[in-house]
């Protein structure tokens, strides 16, 4: 059960890839955000991982329509703490960043929208109020 408080959407790398591939589920996400006026946040760690695939076509556009979330000291502390607590290595760094960004916002707690919820679910369980929704 949720608190009914305002929320936004935080994307992971897989959700970005779904957008780039013009998948129907990504269109549904965009329409849901526009319909309900939900802000979408893109953690810069996820953007960096997305660039690993040498995808530059819509990079500029992404900068202008998402709130970009940097690694603040609070997010860094949350990332490190979560990985340590679950005994995960740095392979899970970006997933941990995505969840920590959703949890550490000053004004709301976001839903994490992902195409692969397996590891993110475990990480999100450490942060009360962070919910994961599979795209």
């Amino acid at each position: 059960m949720t608190t009914g408080l305002p929320y936004g959407i935080t994307l992971d790398t897989g959700a970005l890839v779904a957008l780039e591939r013009r998948e129907k589920r990504a269109l549904t996400l965009l329409d849901a955000a526009l319909d309900k006026d939900l802000p979408i946040t893109l953690p810069l760690a996820a953007l960096a991982e997305w660039h690993v695939g040498r995808r530059h076509g819509i990079a500029t556009r992404l900068m202008s329509c998402f709130e970009l979330a940097p690694l603040t000291p609070n997010v860094c502390a949350a990332v490190g703490g979560a990985l340590r607590q679950l005994g995960l290595d740095s392979c899970h760094f970006v997933d941990a960043c995505v969840v920590a960004v959703a949890a550490c916002r000053p004004d709301r707690i976001d839903r994490v929208v992902t195409s692969d919820p397996h590891d993110i679910q475990r990480l999100a369980a450490l942060f009360p109020g962070v919910y994961v929704v599979t795209l």
Binding site: T2, L27, D31, A32, P39, S64, C65, V133, T134
Partner: protein
């Protein structure tokens, strides 16, 4: 023999609470005014709110442009959107 007037006693008992409450409100109001002055006064407060509204509007326009660039004029699948919004509202995952 006349009974002591109880009204005065009652008000003595309740007065401190009233004073405390009004003091709290005054302090909160003073802090609010102080914060406004710190951020450039009331006009600064209004300006910050206007900038935030403009930022959100720019993001929304960016999102609309992204939709058009990636999906053209693809119509909204209302049923799919409503289902996703319901899952987002519930914080519920289908997995």
């Amino acid at each position: 023999m006349a009974k002591p007037r109880r009204r005065g006693l009652r008000s003595e008992g309740t007065a401190p609470q009233k004073v405390n409450k009004s003091v709290r409100i005054s302090v909160a109001a003073a802090e609010f005014v102080q914060s406004l002055e710190h951020e450039g006064g009331f006009s600064g407060f209004v300006e910050a709110a206007a900038q935030e509204a403009m930022r959100k509007q720019r993001l929304r326009e960016g999102l609309l442009e992204l939709r058009e660039e990636l999906f053209g004029t693809e119509p909204i699948d209302r049923r799919a959107v409503d289902a996703l919004v319901a899952r987002l509202d519930a914080g519920d995952d289908r997995s």
